[in-house]
């Protein structure tokens, strides 16, 4: 008998944070992306600062200034906390992959593998690379293997 679990499907992924995402979580991720995009737009589409890119040459997904308030009801998106942080690492790694910046992707993974970069919640950013692995190969066909440099 299949029972509902907190992870809606039996987790197949490799980490605690990296379980197979439910539709709801995927949707929330999209919402997060929209929020970040929207918030960046509200801030005048600031280009990503080099410091946001964890040592990789920009462009990358920009981190928002912390504590920014555009109006009394504006709640700043926490870009490096919880799922928002995971999404940002995943987006950046995916962007490097699809734009065939493999050397930069290698460098990003090597940097995160030193276990010096954490999100606001204390988890290592390296686990976002595991999410990237899962999503990039879950969504795309075998031809993408051709992009892998051995």
């Amino acid at each position: 008998m299949i029972r509902a679990s907190r992870t809606p499907f039996p987790s197949r992924s490799i980490t605690g944070t990296l379980y197979l995402r439910s539709w709801m979580e995927f949707r929330v991720s999209l919402v997060a992306l929209c929020q970040i995009t929207l918030a960046v737009g509200m801030l005048g589409a600031q280009p990503a600062l080099a410091q946001d890119c964890d040592g990789i040459p920009p462009p990358c997904s920009s981190a928002l200034p912390r504590g920014t308030k555009q109006d009394p009801h504006f709640v700043p998106v926490p870009p490096d906390d919880g799922y928002f942080g995971v999404d940002r690492v995943e987006m950046n790694a995916s962007a490097l992959y699809y734009s065939q910046r493999f050397a930069d992707l290698d460098n990003l993974i090597a940097r995160y593998s030193k276990l010096q970069d954490r999100w606001d919640d204390g988890r290592f950013k390296l686990s976002g690379i595991e999410v990237f692995y899962n999503t990039v190969f879950d969504r795309h066909p075998k031809e993408y293997l051709a992009n892998i440099e051995r």
Partner: protein
């Protein structure tokens, strides 16, 4: 990355259901692709094992292939010796010990005790909270992580308080703290966190709260129930609305 590709292919062939839902062809392809991934991982070990990802991927592939627990533990030991701070290695080992993978609650609890025992004194409480947090993600909705042979709410609470001190900017950690306080029926702690976080909790609420104990349900529970400290006792009757 290629190993990750084959691992993803294996799970696509198998599907994400329990074993009794998998077709014979799917199971055959699952093992075939995982074996390819395993061979690739072995071939690149000399240079790829310099990243914790190699160990995590290897443990994942071995789990799918049904590698004996003893060998899994040996690989895990190597990984944690090389990368003692990388929690994902503990998480992956916990997976292998879950009942759905042939383990038991007792095995999970014993493993968590051993990890916490090995952790630095300053990190023991945080590690305890993180590991049971992971177990919770893998736990069916109709079960709780609290109870006999399971997690102690008092220790989880201590761990989250430590996490909040270590990572004061994290709304995610505090939201999950509130989720566990709700599950443990510690209304006092839940109320305090709810007041502290306020509407910002909505940001993570849909992801952080389980579907059968939503933010609304937890608010309702805290409003209706007398103040209590979970399994530790004391109570009063001030409703949540007044607190907020």
């Amino acid at each position: 990355m290629e190993a990750a590709y084959w691992q993803a292919s294996a799970w696509q062939a198998r599907g994400n259901g329990f074993a009794n839902t998998v077709s014979p062809e799917g199971l055959r392809l699952f093992h075939k692709h995982l074996e390819t991934a395993r061979q690739l991982l072995l071939a690149c070990e000399s240079y790829a094992a310099s990243t914790p990802l190699w160990y995590v991927e290897s443990l994942e592939v071995n789990l799918g292939l049904g590698t004996p627990l003893k060998r899994q533990l040996m690989l895990y030991d190597r990984g944690t010796k090389a990368f003692p701070d990388y929690e994902q290695l503990h998480f992956q080992m916990i997976r292998a010990l879950l009942a759905k993978w042939g383990g038991s609650d007792e095995a999970v609890a014993a493993f968590i005790r051993s990890v916490v025992k090995r952790s630095a004194v300053s990190l023991k409480a945080e590690m305890y909270a993180r590991l049971w947090w992971y177990v919770d993600k893998e736990t069916p909705l109709d079960e709780s992580i609290f109870g006999r042979n399971k997690a102690s709410w008092a220790r989880m609470k201590e761990g989250f308080e430590s996490l909040n001190k270590s990572y004061p900017h994290s709304l995610w950690n505090r939201t999950k703290f509130a989720v566990f306080a709700c599950q443990a029926h510690d209304e006092t702690t839940y109320r305090q966190l709810r007041i502290e976080i306020g509407d910002q909790m909505n940001m993570f609420a849909k992801i952080a709260f389980p579907s059968n104990e939503s933010l609304e349900v937890c608010d309702e529970r805290a409003a209706a129930q007398p103040r209590s400290h979970g399994r530790t006792g004391t109570s009063s009757t001030k409703p949540l609305q007044q607190s907020l």
